[in-house]
């Protein structure tokens, strides 16, 4: 005890450095440094001789005001908000609904349902994108058959400007609904049984028990699911790239910030890539994501402080 106590008081013994070095070096070199380098690059522009020249916030100003950039940026931002809204309004309520069914002790085969419903979540977005491209292809007619049962007329869903984005959002919901389901399920299961039973004895209906007792208790999870959805959605790229290519057609109707960033950075067809404007878009995405995360931290701050003490 005494000996270990004195070892710990020495300033930076060598073994602590050895333990920390690999993680700190890899993380700093391949994550923090590139992020800062990207942000720095967003303040530069290629000069006449091809050398990068410092231009301050000029790139951001161009992105937000120039006719060449602003419509694309705000279009992608708007589409991304729609993408996020559909996840919040469809994915998370369905996840909560499935979780509330699966948390009931009376349902037999809960583990099997849970495992099967989660399956699409483990597939790569590339596969999911192509699977749904086939299903929605009017040539194969699967979507026509199924929608016909409900009296809905089949359409080239991915080819129309009005439907492409909502339909692709729903494909993403189909894939990822397992994540909110699992998080809600964990929260619902950890509610003490006595609380529910006490309410039942008092004559509360299942509906009441859910909204008056369970839902307030899982509110922290609702917050976590919302912020995870936000970060994931504003960082999305693969699904749109797989189904609609980097052009995010038709006519940019499915262009989100991730595809806009990729297109700008790498260029497309005849348009050459533009690393500094790409870095500028990444800088804006970082700002948007940080704003969302900070909003969450301040809304749920009290809860988070409590968690910190527990850790």
């Amino acid at each position: 005890m005494q000996r270990s106590g004195t070892t710990r008081r020495k300033p930076f013994p060598i073994h602590i450095i050895v333990f920390l070095a690999p993680a700190v070096i890899i993380y700093t070199a391949f994550m923090i440094f590139p992020l800062l380098d990207s942000l720095r690059l967003s303040l530069y522009a290629p000069g006449e001789s091809g050398e990068y020249v410092f231009v301050g916030l000029n790139n951001y100003q161009r992105l937000l005001t120039e006719p060449l950039w602003a419509p694309r940026f705000f279009g992608a931002l708007k589409n991304n908000l729609v993408f996020f809204a559909i996840h919040m309004l469809v994915q998370n309520p369905i996840g909560l609904f499935l979780a509330s069914l699966l948390s009931s002790q009376f349902i037999k085969g809960r583990a099997i349902y849970r495992t099967l419903i989660f399956t699409p979540t483990v597939l790569s977005v590339v596969l999911v994108g192509f699977i749904w491209r086939l299903i929605l292809n009017p040539l194969w007619g699967i979507s026509g058959d199924i929608l016909g049962l409900f009296g809905i007329e089949n359409q080239p869903w991915l080819g129309l400007e009005t439907t492409a984005l909502p339909v692709l959002s729903l494909v993403s919901v189909w894939q990822y609904v397992g994540i909110p389901m699992m998080l809600f399920l964990a929260a619902l299961i950890s509610i003490p049984d006595e609380l529910i039973e006490a309410a039942r004895v008092d004559g509360a209906t299942a509906w009441h028990v859910f909204w008056k007792i369970k839902f307030p208790l899982i509110l922290p999870t609702v917050g976590i699911v919302a912020v995870l959805t936000f970060v994931g959605n504003f960082n999305a790229f693969d699904l749109i790239y797989t189904t609609q290519r980097a052009t995010a057609g038709p006519n940019f109707a499915t262009d989100i910030l991730g595809t806009f960033f990729y297109r700008t950075f790498f260029g497309i067809q005849l348009q050459p890539g533009n690393p500094t404007m790409g870095a500028t878009i990444a800088g804006m995405m970082l700002l948007i994501i940080l704003a969302g995360v900070l909003l969450y931290l301040f809304t749920f701050q009290r809860r988070l402080l409590k968690m910190d003490i527990q850790l």
Binding site: L20, V122, L134, M182
Partner: protein
Amino acid sequence: MATTLNPTHVSTTRVARRFQLSRLWQLAAAHLALLLYTALALFPIFLVVVNSFKNRRAIFAMPYALPTAETWDPVGYQTVFNNANFGLYFANSLIVTIGALVLILLAGTMASYALAEYRFPGNTLLGLYLALGIMVPIRLGTVGILRLVVALGLADTLWALILVYTASGLPLAIFIMTQFMRQVPRELKDAARVDGASEYRIYWMTLPLVRPALGTVAVFNMIPIWNDLWFPLILAPSENVKTVTLGAQVFLGQFVNDWNAVLASLTLAIIPVVVLYILFSRQLIRGLTAGAVK
């Protein structure tokens, strides 16, 4: 006898029976909802797998039928094997995923051991610094990552992918494992110190005690690394370093009108992931729900 029955007794049995009936209805409705959703989750996958074994005419004429002796045709698989090097892509994905997992677990446990075990100036600050990456997606640093990878001569190598995935996996891994490391009893480590064990030896000793955390971190990182399209597309697009996800993306793009080949390649890509998922689903689900779901 029946007439003398206590009226309150009658009403309570009736209420109980009605309650049981409504319970039954609720159960049936719940099962129906779950079954419908399970069908929705699995039906598209089922359609792809089933039709990959049929001839082109049967794919369109009877998409919902299982392959029969007449409609059986593995031509799609032949196209895949003749035109794409999925064996190589598979090996690349394995190297990248396992390489990154080993590095995440090794560097992650070492760092979290130090953060949990020693009190040194800047401990909390370093913990916060390492936790920053949990909420900031690494993709936003892509411009800088590509510059760095090119400068280091790692462009178009599997090392570039391994290092990037390690960097992006470390923050959450360290965050989770530090909490587990703190729960390892202090007496155990102090007893080993009294016996003259080195700090490195004590770190190695604690690893088996945090095995559940190692499993959670490994399963958590495995799926996103295996499935990632972004970094293979940007950092390692050459044929000899393509991962399965990128290989499938390119192949599917080229053969988009060859339905047999598309369905066969999708099936080939789906099956290993689903088998792995079924093998590890317990760990995955337990990790995702922090142990609340058994």
